[in-house]
Symmetry: C2
Subunit: 453 residues, 2 copies
Amino acid sequence: MAFELNAFLLEDIKRLIHHEEDAQLVTLFEDVHFADVAEILDEVNWDEAVYLVRLLDSEKTSEALMELDDDVRERLLESLTPKEIAEEIEEMDTDDAVDAIAELDEDIQQAVIEYIEDEEHAADIQEMLQYDEDSAGGLMAKELIKVKETWTVAGCVREMRRQAEEVTRVHSIYVVTKENVLIGRLSLKDLLTSDAKTKISEIYIPKVDAVNVNDQGEDVAKLMQKYDLEAIPVVDDEKKLLGRITIDDIVDFIKEEAEKDYQMAAGISQDVEADDSILQLTRARLPWLFLGLLGGIGAATIMGGFEDILEDYALLFFYTPLIAAMAGNVGVQSSAIIVQGLANDDVKGSIGNRLLKEMALAALNGLLLGLALFVFTALWYRGEPDSLNTALAISISLFAVIIMAGIIGTFIPLFLHKRGIDPAIATGPFITTSNDIFGILIYFWIAKLILFT
Amino acid sequence: MAFELNAFLLEDIKRLIHHEEDAQLVTLFEDVHFADVAEILDEVNWDEAVYLVRLLDSEKTSEALMELDDDVRERLLESLTPKEIAEEIEEMDTDDAVDAIAELDEDIQQAVIEYIEDEEHAADIQEMLQYDEDSAGGLMAKELIKVKETWTVAGCVREMRRQAEEVTRVHSIYVVTKENVLIGRLSLKDLLTSDAKTKISEIYIPKVDAVNVNDQGEDVAKLMQKYDLEAIPVVDDEKKLLGRITIDDIVDFIKEEAEKDYQMAAGISQDVEADDSILQLTRARLPWLFLGLLGGIGAATIMGGFEDILEDYALLFFYTPLIAAMAGNVGVQSSAIIVQGLANDDVKGSIGNRLLKEMALAALNGLLLGLALFVFTALWYRGEPDSLNTALAISISLFAVIIMAGIIGTFIPLFLHKRGIDPAIATGPFITTSNDIFGILIYFWIAKLILFT
């Protein structure tokens, strides 16, 4: 793990590129891991990156390309000719190849596929391009080790050696019928310990989990996590073996999902990164801010409606940011815990029970916070006219607002989930804004009730 | 994947337990996957769960126990005798065994370890208990396949068969010296294709990545993701092979980290779940709400300081929730993107550049939002005295507040990160609250400047 990209090394590389010292560059990159090559491609400028991809062995650069961000890879590939792209694609596993190709324009896609020399590889890619990116078909790779039930152990080992050339990591050995129908798997242990003449049909394990090619990636991820699987075969409706999904693809998937939820909670609606352009970032952030603006205007309009009590009870108006903030915070807390629970499938029981629990929780929090606020305001404003009443009104309203915020924060994601909508959109600005408006309305309404009756 | 836990099956199981129909229960559970056993243990009541753990084969229940939430497993184990716990532990891989034992009281721990029959297993657990839970040592398992460089291929295969009994999944074959120093790895392919008399020293790959036993789990997770590793060996300071970490342990780790960040952003400070008790949930949520309360009181106090302009410019006060909400939203967006970038190691460049970019971004957003607000307020309140000036004051202040919020939201996580503090605590209520206060202060200050000069 000694590799560390530093400014000196980077300068060196840039200098060598500038002087077109190809031989030295190739030697320099010989021992560099592809993940580190990716880091270097990310750091040098555009022309330098294209130069390196052209120069270095596709075996190395193809893997490095897959480590790059989608948009960086896309731009890099677009700087290459279809023939050059095909050379990179040739070295990739089918799942990576499809991910890389799918980003290109359709006419370039076809040109690239025609340049791929390995016809089977090209056909696999062609087939896989039709699957939805987030489905099992979009996540799977065609590379796997499969044996026929009719083979012997000796034949099996021979065939495995051949197949192993193409497969980076042997996870499982799948057993199929002559018609390629998946019927089981073979343990390496059994293979190692069986006599060379034993038939596979005698030693294979007839139990094997598989997913359908059209299953959602999210469900595959859950399944693999639940059953601690490192690889799972993908079959079509006739149980024919099409490919396999490995845990490393799922790791990326899980991370992407978690990041998407996190960004949604923070009010960022598209998949953006800190290094994206200002325009991309604005597009992802502005809509949510605009929603917040509308909410604020709504709150201001409500407050305008209570202008008649402004003169006597100015204090009420000073506490509106507090009310809005608390309504927002409680709402986000409640919704976040529901969204996370839904994602992990551990929200049990009925919506009714869930709401009751959240109400009890909010009541407890509201009581403690309302009490604290009452003590503070009663002491701080003592001596001012009607201060005790105002303190009471503010605190009781806070209590009511917290309960309401908890209920809304719990109900909305549950409701969206029932409707088949991703509940994660309910966290963040959406819940904050609606709770702001409702909160301030309830606050003034209750306060007025207390102060004027 | 046919298993689906339904109410009928659950009723059946409960009835069988009630009537102590042990033979029927054992038959029923024969084909149930341990992950599904865990689901059942989660659904039945306490005594029933203990009954099942006692009844069923430890080979199955030990794995099911590891699928349960930490606190559920802890309570279940505490209902068993040390001897019964030892039977479960006996069946677990060392990493799971240590996780399970570490939760128990120290005297029970020792009693359990003494009951473990496999002395090597007991010694391994004893050794591993000393490592920090989140370090490489805490994540690793002792089960692995290793061969000595002096062996032949034939001897190696023989020895591997023996070791494979204990190892669930063969990821890599590690090559060590006589002194157990890790010197390389062996590819399965090379092993399959080499002559039986070949010495391992002739065919092993002398390049192998490893982590130190004291490395942080987070760093191991990053490394394994970056280099797409499915397993990584763990060595001590003398490079002696101690164990290995597999990707499935890292998947759980990554998920936990992502969930922690998400909860922190939502203002939930402890690891809680939707099904935890109201008291646990309150403890996790109340401190952040209290922080929000203090922020609100701060905002109210600031507004009190501007009471002299209340009569003439009541409108200003109506827009404080909007200002606070926008300051909060922008702050959360900025900080979330930085926190995520830091977690993925792709925040590049200096803090200065980062702040400049965020300022430009905030200025663009602020300009658009300020303009929208100006158009609205100017039209809505037209005819009222001094309305145009007030609209101008509110909008310009909003613009300034958004820029400030963006800067604070960017700076705080970067600053915390430089100081070695987890920047995730800067998202959520922390940033919202500080931005609320600063926002309202700047708002009134600028508005007053515009209206009274």
